[in-house]
C-alpha cells in the first residue's frame, strides 16, 4: 500500500516532465491503475463490498473509458505537443520542482490535522496529488494536458476519500464517477472543436475574452 502511494507520486512527478501527449495519457492510465489497486487493497483491508465495486468502477471508467476517449481524440491532434519553446509557462524543471514542493507541503503540514483516519499514510499523498493536478492545470497550456491535470486532481480526491473515510457512500461515488466521465467527454468534445476552430489545442491562445 505504501509502495502504491509512492508509485502514484512518482507517476505524478513523471507526468510533469512529459510533453508527448500519448505518453502523458499512458501515464495517467498507469496512475489510475494504481488508484484502482489502492482501492482494492483498502477494500481487502476493510472488507467492505462497496469499496470493491468502487474499485471496479475506477478500473472501468478511469482506466478504461477516459483513456479511451482521450486516445480517440489524439489522431486529430497529431503534431500537437506541449510546447517547451517560447510559449511555455514554466520549464519542466520548475514544474517538477513545484510538484515536489506540493508533496512536501502536503506531508509537512496537513497530515497531523486529522487524527484517526482510516488510512493515514495515504492522506498526504492524496493531497499532494490534488495539488499536483492543480499545478498541472496552471502550468500547462495544452488542452489534453489540462484534462490530465483535472484527472490527476480527481484521482487525488478519490484517494483522499478512500483514505479518510473508506470512500463515500456508493451512490455518491457512482455519481462522482459519472460526472468525471461526462466531464472528460465534454472536454474532449471541446478539445476537438478547439482543434477545428483554432487549428491548435493550445489553451494559451484562449485569451480573447477579457475585461
Amino acid at each position: 500500500m505504501e509502495l502504491l502511494t509512492i508509485l502514484l507520486l512518482v507517476a505524478a512527478i513523471l507526468q510533469t516532465r512529459v510533453s508527448n501527449l500519448r505518453l502523458a495519457i499512458n501515464i495517467i492510465l498507469v496512475q489510475s491503475v494504481f488508484v484502482a489497486l489502492a482501492c482494492a487493497i483498502i477494500g481487502f483491508q476493510t472488507n467492505e463490498t462497496h469499496i470493491y465495486i468502487a474499485a471496479l468502477l475506477t478500473a472501468i471508467i478511469k482506466v478504461g473509458l477516459i483513456p479511451y476517449a482521450l486516445y480517440r481524440v489524439l489522431p486529430y491532434l497529431h503534431e500537437e505537443r506541449e510546447k517547451r519553446a517560447r510559449r511555455e509557462i514554466v520549464s519542466a524543471n520548475l514544474s517538477t520542482f513545484m510538484a515536489l514542493l506540493a508533496i512536501i507541503l502536503a506531508y509537512g503540514m496537513l497530515s497531523p490535522k486529522f487524527p484517526g483516519v482510516a488510512v493515514a499514510y495515504a492522506l498526504p499523498a492524496s493531497i499532494s496529488l490534488v495539488l499536483i493536478g492543480l499545478v498541472f492545470i496552471m502550468t500547462r497550456s495544452q488542452a489534453v494536458m489540462q484534462i490530465i491535470g483535472l484527472i490527476t486532481m480527481e484521482n487525488g480526491l478519490y484517494l483522499l476519500g478512500l483514505s479518510m473515510t473508506q470512500g463515500l457512500p456508493l451512490i455518491i461515488e457512482m455519481g462522482i464517477f459519472f460526472d468525471v466521465l461526462v466531464a472528460v467527454v465534454v472536454l474532449v468534445i471541446l478539445t476537438y472543436r478547439l482543434k477545428l476552430s483554432f487549428m491548435s489545442t493550445d489553451t494559451s491562445l484562449l485569451k480573447k475574452l477579457k475585461g
Binding site: I89, K207, L209
Partner: protein, 674 residues
C-alpha cells in the same frame, strides 16, 4: 376623517391622471385635457388639504401594505402641509399651463409625458407626506426616476440624455447618503417611523455622520454647490412645466428633508453644523448667480438661479441651526421662518419664470436669448408676468422675494448674538454683504434676461414671428404673478402659518415671534433684537411717489411726442446693433475673472480675404472650476483606475486558477489562525 379623504382623493386624482392616457384612445387632445385637468384637480385638492391641516392640526393617515414594506404612515403635519401648500399652488399653475403647452407635444409621446407628469406630482405629494423610512426612500427615488424620464423625454435632442444621466447619477449618489443617514437613525431608534426617529440615542460622532450624510444627500437634490452640477443640465432639458415643478417644488423637497432632519430628527446640534450650512449656502448663492449671469440659455440661466436661491434658503436654515445650537430659540425661529418663507417664494416666482421661459420657447422655439428680443410687443402678457417674476427673484419690493430676503438679512444680522465677539460680527457682515452682492447680481442678471428677451427689436426670424401663447398658459402665469404680489404685500398670513409650522420643534420658540405684527406690518421681537417691516406702507409710498411723478410730468401741459428712430450716430438701427446678453454681462465677467476664468476664442475666417477676415467668430465661455477641478479629475481618475483594475480579468485560464488557489490558501490561513 375629512383630511384622510382629501389626501386619498388628491393621490387618487394623480393616479387617475397617470392612467388616463390609456383611456383616451390615442386622441392627443383628449389626453391633454383629461390628464392635465386631473392633475389640476389633484393640486386644488392638495391646497384644500394643506389649508385644512393648517387649520385643524396634524394628521396621520396609516395604511398597511403588508410585506415587504410594512405599515406605511402618511403624516401630514404643519411642515408637510406648508410644503404641500406650495406644491399645490405651483402644481395648479403648472398643470393649467401644461394644457396649453402640451400642444407642442402632440406628436412627441404626449401620452407618456402626461402620465409621467401626473406620476411626478404624485411622487412629490407622497415624498412630502410619507413618514416611514423605507417608503420615503422609495417615493424619493420614484420622484427621481419619474423626473429623470421627463428630463429624458425629448431624447432626440442632443445632450438631453447625458443631462438625464448626470441627473440620475448625482441624485442616486445623494440617495445613498440619505439612506445612510436614515438607516443610522432608524437603527438607533429601532423604528422606521418618522415620529419616533428622534428617540434614538446616537453618539456624538454618529450624529455628525448622520448630519453630514443628510446634508450631502439632500444637498445633492437641492443643488447646493459643489453638488449642483446636474441641475443646470437637467432642468432645461425637461418640458417647461416640468422644469417649473422641478425647480419650484422638487428641489424644495430636499429642503423639506433637511428640515425634517435638522428640526425634528436631529434637533439642535453642534454649532459647526449650522456654520457649515452657512458656508455652503453663501457659496451656492454667489456662484449660482454668477454662473447664471454668464448663461444666455434662458432655462439654464433660471436653473443656475435655483442654485442661488437654494443658497439663500440655506442661509436662513444655517443661521437657524446656529441659533438652535446656541440656545436662542426665538432667533432660530426667525431664521428658519426666513428660510422656509423663501422656499415658498422661490417656488412661486421660479416656477413663474420657468413657465414664462416655456412660453417664450413655445412661441419662438429657442431658448437662446441672443436670438430673441422684442417679444414684449408680440407677447405682452407673457412679458408682464415674466417681469413680475424677474422683479420678485431680484428681491425687489414690494414682491415676495424681497420679504423673505429681508427676513434672511435680519436673521444674519443677529448672528453675532450666537457667535460672540468680533468674529461673529465679521462673519455676519460678510454674509450680509455677499447676500447683498447676490441680490445685485440677480438684479443685473434679470435686467439682462428680461431686457434681451423681451425688449428692443427681434434678433431673429423666430422671434419676429412669435405670437402670444394660449390662454391657459397666461392664466397660469397670471395666477402665480398674483401670488408673488400677494405674498409680498401681505406676508403676514404666510408668516403666521410658518409660526405654526415651527412652533412644534424643540429648540425653537416661534409662538411669540411675530406677536407684535399688525394687520399691515410684520414685526418680530427676540429679546433686544427686533425688526419691523410694513410692506403695504412701502407700496403706498411708491404709489404716492408715482402719483407725484405723474403730477410733475403733467405740470407743463402735454408737450408733443415725436416718433424718431433710436439714436445710433446717424445710421439706421437694426437688431444687430443691439447690446447682446454676452455684452451686457461682460463687465461682470471681467471683474470676477479670478473666479470665473473667462476664456475667449477668436476665430477669424481668412479664407476669402487674407488681410482682414471675412467673418470673425468669438467663442466666449467661462471655466466652471467645480466641475473642472473636482468632478473631472475624479471621474477621469476613476476611469483610469477602473481600466487599470480591469487587468485582473486578463483572459488567462492559468491566472484564474491561480486566483482560486491563492484565495483558498489565504482563507485557509485565516481560518487556521483564527
Amino acid at each position: 376623517m375629512l383630511i384622510e379623504q382629501l389626501y386619498l382623493v388628491s393621490l387618487g386624482l394623480f393616479i387617475l391622471g397617470s392612467c388616463s392616457p390609456m383611456f383616451t384612445k390615442g386622441s392627443a387632445k383628449a389626453t391633454n385635457y383629461l390628464a392635465h385637468g386631473l392633475a389640476t384637480l389633484g393640486c386644488v385638492v392638495t391646497i384644500v388639504l394643506a389649508i385644512s391641516v393648517l387649520l385643524t392640526g396634524n394628521h396621520t393617515v396609516a395604511f398597511s401594505l403588508g410585506a415587504p414594506i410594512g405599515l406605511i404612515k402618511a403624516r401630514i403635519d404643519y411642515l408637510a402641509a406648508y410644503f404641500l401648500l406650495a406644491f399645490g399652488i405651483v402644481g395648479v399653475a403648472a398643470s393649467v399651463y401644461a394644457i396649453g403647452y402640451s400642444r407642442e407635444y402632440y406628436i412627441h409621446r404626449l401620452a407618456l409625458m402626461a402620465a409621467l407628469y401626473n406620476a411626478f406630482l404624485l411622487s412629490i405629494a407622497l415624498v412630502l407626506t410619507i413618514s416611514q423610512v423605507l417608503a420615503f426612500v422609495i417615493v424619493w427615488e420614484l420622484m427621481t426616476v419619474v423626473s429623470f424620464c421627463l428630463v429624458n423625454h425629448e431624447y432626440e435632442k442632443t445632450g438631453n440624455t447625458s443631462a438625464a444621466y448626470l441627473y440620475i447619477l448625482m441624485t442616486h449618489i445623494g440617495t445613498a447618503f440619505i439612506g445612510i443617514a436614515f438607516l443610522l437613525l432608524a437603527t438607533a431608534a429601532n423604528t422606521l417611523d418618522f415620529e419616533l426617529l428622534k428617540t434614538g440615542a446616537l453618539t456624538g460622532m454618529l450624529r455628525n455622520v448622520v448630519f453630514l450624510c443628510a446634508l450631502i444627500g439632500f444637498g445633492t437634490k437641492a443643488g447646493v454647490i459643489p453638488l449642483h452640477i446636474w441641475l443646470p443640465e437637467a432642468h432645461p432639458a425637461a418640458p417647461s412645466h416640468v422644469s417649473a415643478m422641478m425647480s419650484g417644488i422638487m428641489i424644495k423637497t430636499a429642503i423639506y428633508g433637511m428640515s425634517r432632519f435638522f428640526l425634528e430628527f436631529l434637533g439642535a446640534g453642534p454649532e459647526w453644523w449650522g456654520q457649515l450650512v452657512l458656508i455652503l449656502a453663501i457659496i451656492s448663492s454667489v456662484f449660482g448667480v454668477l454662473y447664471a449671469l454668464m448663461e444666455h440659455d434662458l432655462k439654464r440661466l433660471l436653473a443656475y438661479h435655483s442654485v442661488e436661491n437654494i443658497g439663500i434658503i440655506l442661509l436662513g436654515v444655517g443661521a437657524g441651526m446656529v441659533f438652535m445650537s446656541k440656545g436662542l430659540p426665538v432667533l432660530a425661529a426667525l431664521a428658519w421662518a426666513a428660510g422656509l418663507y423663501h422656499v415658498f417664494n422661490h417656488a412661486v416666482f421660479k416656477s413663474l419664470l420657468f413657465l414664462g421661459s416655456g412660453a417664450v420657447l413655445y412661441a419662438t422655439h429657442t431658448k437662446d436669448i441672443e436670438h430673441l428680443g422684442g417679444l414684449i410687443k408680440k407677447m405682452p402678457y407673457t412679458a408682464l408676468f415674466f417681469l413680475i417674476g424677474a422683479a420678485a427673484i431680484s428681491a425687489l419690493p414690494p414682491l415676495n422675494g424681497f420679504v423673505s430676503e429681508w427676513l434672511t438679512f435680519q436673521a444674519l444680522f443677529f448672528l453675532p448674538q450666537a457667535v460672540g465677539g468680533l468674529v461673529g460680527k465679521l462673519w455676519s457682515v460678510i454674509l450680509i454683504a455677499l447676500l447683498g452682492l447676490t441680490g445685485a447680481l440677480a438684479g443685473a442678471c434679470f435686467v439682462k434676461a428680461f431686457g434681451v428677451t423681451f425688449l428692443a427689436k427681434p434678433r431673429s426670424k423666430k422671434a419676429e414671428q412669435a405670437t402670444e401663447v394660449p390662454g391657459t398658459m397666461l392664466v397660469a402665469m397670471g395666477f402665480l404673478s398674483l401670488v408673488c404680489v400677494a405674498a409680498g404685500v401681505w406676508p403676514q398670513w404666510m408668516l403666521a402659518i410658518l409660526q405654526k409650522v415651527l412652533s412644534s420643534y424643540a429648540g425653537i420658540a416661534a409662538a411669540s415671534l411675530f406677536q407684535n405684527s399688525d394687520w399691515y406690518a410684520i414685526a418680530f421681537q427676540a429679546q433686544q433684537a427686533g425688526g419691523v417691516l410694513a410692506m403695504p406702507v412701502v407700496v403706498i409710498m411708491v404709489i404716492i411717489g408715482f402719483g407725484v411723478a405723474v403730477v410733475f410730468a403733467r405740470l407743463a401741459g402735454s408737450p408733443k411726442k415725436d416718433a424718431g428712430e433710436t439714436w445710433t450716430c446717424g445710421i439706421i438701427p437694426n437688431a444687430r446693433m443691439e447690446y447682446t446678453a454676452t455684452g451686457f454681462a461682460e463687465p461682470i465677467r471681467r471683474a470676477f475673472g479670478r473666479v470665473l476664468n473667462p476664456v475667449d476664442v477668436v476665430i477669424a475666417d481668412k479664407s476669402r480675404n487674407p488681410y482682414h477676415g471675412v467673418k470673425i467668430t468669438i467663442h466666449v465661455h467661462i471655466t466652471h472650476y467645480i466641475s473642472e477641478l473636482m468632478y473631472r479629475p475624479v471621474s477621469n481618475g476613476l476611469y483610469t483606475f477602473a481600466n487599470y483594475l480591469r487587468k485582473i480579468q486578463a483572459g488567462s485560464l492559468q491566472l484564474y486558477i491561480g486566483y482560486i488557489m491563492a484565495v483558498t490558501v489565504i482563507v485557509l490561513i485565516i481560518g487556521t489562525r483564527w
